[in-house]
Amino acid sequence: MEFLLSEEQLEIQDTVKRFLDKHCPSTALHSYFDDPAQLPEAIWQGLVEMGVPALIVPEAFGGMGMTLLDLAIIAEVLGQAAAPNPLLGHTLATQALIYAGSPAQQEKWLPKLASGECLASFATAESGNWLAPSLSCVNGNITGQKQHVPHAEHAQLIVVALAGGRYALIEQGATGLEISAENVADRTRPLASLNLNDCPAELLDGDCGNAAEPILNTALVLLAADSFGGAAQCVDMAVDYAKTREQFGQPIGKFQALKHQLANMAVDVEPMRGLYWHAAYAFDQEPETASRQAALAKAHLSDRFLHVARETVQAHGGIGYTWECDAQIFIKRALFNYTFMGNAGLHRKRAADLADW
C-alpha cells in the first residue's frame, strides 16, 4: 500500500516543471496567448525532447510503454503553468491508434507520433455532442462537420471519431478538408472546426474492441490532472497577491475575510490531487472502475478549478479583471477543462449510471 509517486515519477515531473519555469514564465505565456495562430513551437519541441509524447506509446512502436499516471502528472505540471501545448489532441489521436489501429497502421504512425515527427489531433464533437459521433466513412470519404479540434491547423494527422465506435485518419492538406479557427477564449489550446466534403480518409481497422472508452477516459483523466495543476496555481497566485498587495496600511492577507476565502479555496483544491491520481491509477490497474473514476474526477476537478479560478479573479481585485493578469488565462483554461469532452453535468450523470445505483 503506497499511494505516492515514485522517485522516477517525481523526477520527470520536476524536469518538465523546470523546463516550463524557463520557457513558459508569465511573460512568455502572455505572448503565446496573444498570438494563438502560432504553434507554441519551443514548448512542443521541449516536450518532445523530454520524451513526453512517447510516454504511453508501446515500446514496440518506439515509445516508452509507460502508464497514464506517468502522463497525467505531466498534464498537472502543464496545467500549473497554463502552458500552451498540443498534447491533449496528440495524446487522444495516439490512443486511437493504440486501441483501434491495425498493426500496419500502428507501425506506420505510432513511431512518428512518439518521436513528435508528426503532430496529431483528435476530432469528435458535433454540435455540442461529445460522446456519440454520427459521421461515417463511405467509400473512403467523409462528409460532415466536426467542432472543437485542438491545434487542428498545425496537426499533420487528424483522427476523426465516427459512428459505431469507429475512427478514421485524415491527413493535413487532404482535398475536401476545410479548417476554420474558432474564436475561442482559451488561446493556450486553440480549437478549430472541420468542414469535410468528400474528404479522403483511412478507417482504423484494428481489432481492439471498444476503443471509445479508453480514449474518452484518457481525455477525462488528463483534463482532471490539468485542472489540479491550474487550481493549485490559482491558490498560490491569490496567496502571493494577498501577501504583497497593501491597503489600509497592511497586507490585504491580514484581513480575515480574505484569509477565509483563500482557506476555502485550498480546502477545495488540496485533497483533489488524490482523486485524479486514483482515476489514472484505475485506468492503469483497475479497468473495471476506470470509466466511473475518470468521469467523477473530470467532473469534480474541472468544476472546482473553475470555481477557484473565479475566486482568484476576485481575490486580485481590479487587476484580476485585466487582460495582463495571469488569472484571466487560468479562468479561461478552467472553462475549457470544464466544457471540453462534456461538462460536469454530463459526467456526473454518467458516474451515477455507472454506479449501479
Binding site: 505516492l4 482557506a263 480546502v267 491520481w277
Partner: protein, 397 residues
C-alpha cells in the same frame, strides 16, 4: 503507486483475522455482561499487540514499533468484525498521550492502565464561558494552599463543554496559576478527582435534546499539589502536546465514506417526488457531486497515510482535514433533509433508539456540532491561512 498491501502486510492481516476468529465474539467464559466481554477481549488484543500499540507494556499497553499500515489493517479488520477497539473517550484520545509525553512516573502508573481498560473515564476542562476560540484567555484560577495532608491546589472558576463530565471520575483542567505571568505563560495543567467537594456538574441540554456536554463549577475544589502535569506555567505547552496526538485524518475519511454509503442506501429506500429517490436525476447529481468531495478526501488520506509511513511531511493538507470532514458532514445533512422529507419535522430521536428516517436528524444537527467542537470552522480557516500560507496574524492575537 500500489493500493494493494505487500505480502508481509497481507500475512499480518491474516494473523489479525485469525485472532479475531478465535476471540470475538468473546466466549461465554469471558463474563456475563457486554462490558466484561469487551474488557476480556481488550486484554487479549493488548497481549497480541493489536491495541494501544504506542503505550509501553509497563503502563498496560502493547508497546509495538509504530507502523501506520499495520494500525490501518487492525482498524479495518476489527471494524469489519465489530470487535471493540481502544476504549473510547477523551481519556485515551488526549490524556494518555499527554501523560506519556509530560507526566511523572507516578502519574503514568496511577492513571494510564485503568484509563486504557476503560475503568477511568475522563472529562476535559478547557473551555470557559468567556474562553472559547480564545482559550488562552481562560480565568479559572488555582493557587497552592496548605491542606490537611500537605500542599494542595485550590481551584475556583467555571468550565464548559466538558463532554460526558457527568459520567467521568476525573478531569484534566487548564487553570491560571501564575496570575502575574503573560496570557499563555500563566496556565498550568492539573488533574482532579471529580468526587472531591466543591465541584458541581450541570449537564447542558443541547439542540438535539440530548445532554452530552456539561458545565463544571469549581468552588475551592482541592487536588494534591503533585497532580500537576509538567511544570507550573507550562500548561499551555502541555495541552499542545496532547493536540499533536489527536487522531490522524485517516479515520475521518473512512467515516465520511461510510456516511456517504449510508446516504446512498437511504436514497434507495425512500420516495422523492413520486419516484424512488435514487432514480431521480436531481438526487443522482447531488450524490455524485458530494461523492467528488468524499473520494477526494479518501484518496487524499491514502496519500497522507503513505507519506506518514514513508516518514515524509504531507504539508498543509494536515491543517485542512478537520474542515474537509466538517464540510462533507454539512453536505450530507443537506441531502439527507430532502430525502427524509416530512420526517424532517420531527425531533431527532435519542441515539440508537429509533428506526425511523428522523434518525438522520442526529446527523443533521450533529454536523453543526462538529463544525464547532475542537476549533470552529472559522478558526480552522485562520489556522490554514496563517500556518498553512504564512499570511500575517491578526492583531487581535
Amino acid at each position: 503507486m500500489d493500493l494493494k498491501y505487500n505480502a508481509s502486510y497481507e500475512a499480518f492481516r491474516q494473523q489479525v483475522v485469525a485472532f479475531l476468529g478465535e476471540h470475538w465474539p468473546a466466549p461465554d467464559s469471558a463474563g456475563d455482561s457486554r462490558a466484561e466481554k469487551e474488557a476480556w477481549f481488550r486484554r487479549q488484543a493488548i497481549a497480541a499487540g493489536y491495541l494501544y500499540r504506542g503505550v509501553p507494556r509497563e503502563f498496560g499497553g502493547s508497546e509495538q514499533e509504530p507502523d501506520i499500515l499495520k494500525a490501518t489493517i487492525i482498524r479495518d479488520e476489527f471494524s469489519k468484525r465489530r470487535a471493540p477497539m481502544e476504549a473510547p473517550g477523551i481519556g485515551n484520545m488526549m490524556l494518555v498521550p499527554t501523560l506519556l509525553e509530560c507526566g511523572t512516573q507516578e502519574q503514568k502508573e496511577r492513571f494510564i492502565p485503568k484509563t486504557l481498560t476503560g475503568e477511568y473515564h475522563w472529562a476535559q476542562g478547557y473551555s470557559e464561558p468567556n474562553a472559547g476560540s480564545d482559550l488562552a484567555s481562560l480565568r479559572t484560577r488555582a493557587e497552592l494552599v496548605e491542606g490537611e495532608n500537605g500542599p494542595e491546589w485550590s481551584i475556583n472558576g467555571q468550565k464548559i463543554w466538558s463532554t460526558l463530565a457527568q459520567f467521568a471520575q476525573y478531569m484534566f483542567v487548564l487553570a491560571r496559576t501564575e496570575p502575574e505571568a503573560g496570557k499563555h505563560a500563566g496556565i498550568s495543567y492539573l488533574l482532579i478527582d471529580l468526587k472531591n467537594p466543591g465541584i458541581t456538574i450541570r449537564p447542558i441540554k443541547q439542540v438535539t435534546g440530548g445532554k452530552e456536554f456539561c458545565e463544571v463549577f469549581f468552588d475551592d475544589a482541592r487536588t494534591p499539589a503533585d497532580w500537576i502535569v509538567g511544570e507550573r506555567g507550562e500548561g499551555w505547552k502541555v495541552s499542545k502536546a496532547t493536540l499533536a496526538h489527536e487522531r490522524s485524518s485517516i479515520g475521518g475519511a473512512q467515516t465520511a465514506v461510510g456516511l456517504f454509503e449510508k446516504l446512498v442506501e437511504l436514497a434507495k429506500g425512500v420516495e422523492y417526488q413520486g419516484v424512488t429517490a435514487i432514480d431521480h436525476p436531481q438526487i443522482r447529481e447531488r450524490l455524485v457531486t458530494l461523492e467528488g468531495y468524499v473520494q477526494s478526501h479518501l484518496y487524499s488520506s491514502y496519500r497522507q497515510l503513505s507519506m506518514a509511513a514513508a516518514k515524509q511531511n504531507a504539508g498543509r493538507i494536515g491543517l485542512m482535514n478537520k474542515l474537509i470532514n466538517t464540510n462533507i458532514g454539512h453536505m450530507v445533512a443537506d441531502i439527507a433533509k430532502d430525502l427524509i422529507n416530512d420526517a424532517a419535522l420531527l425531533m431527532p430521536p435519542a441515539k440508537g433508539r429509533a428506526e425511523g428516517d428522523e434518525k438522520w436528524l442526529n446527523q443533521f444537527f450533529g454536523s453543526l456540532g462538529v463544525a464547532i467542537a475542537g476549533g470552529t470552522s472559522n478558526i480552522q480557516r485562520n489556522i490554514i491561512a496563517e500556518r498553512g500560507f504564512g499570511l500575517p496574524r491578526d492583531d487581535a492575537e
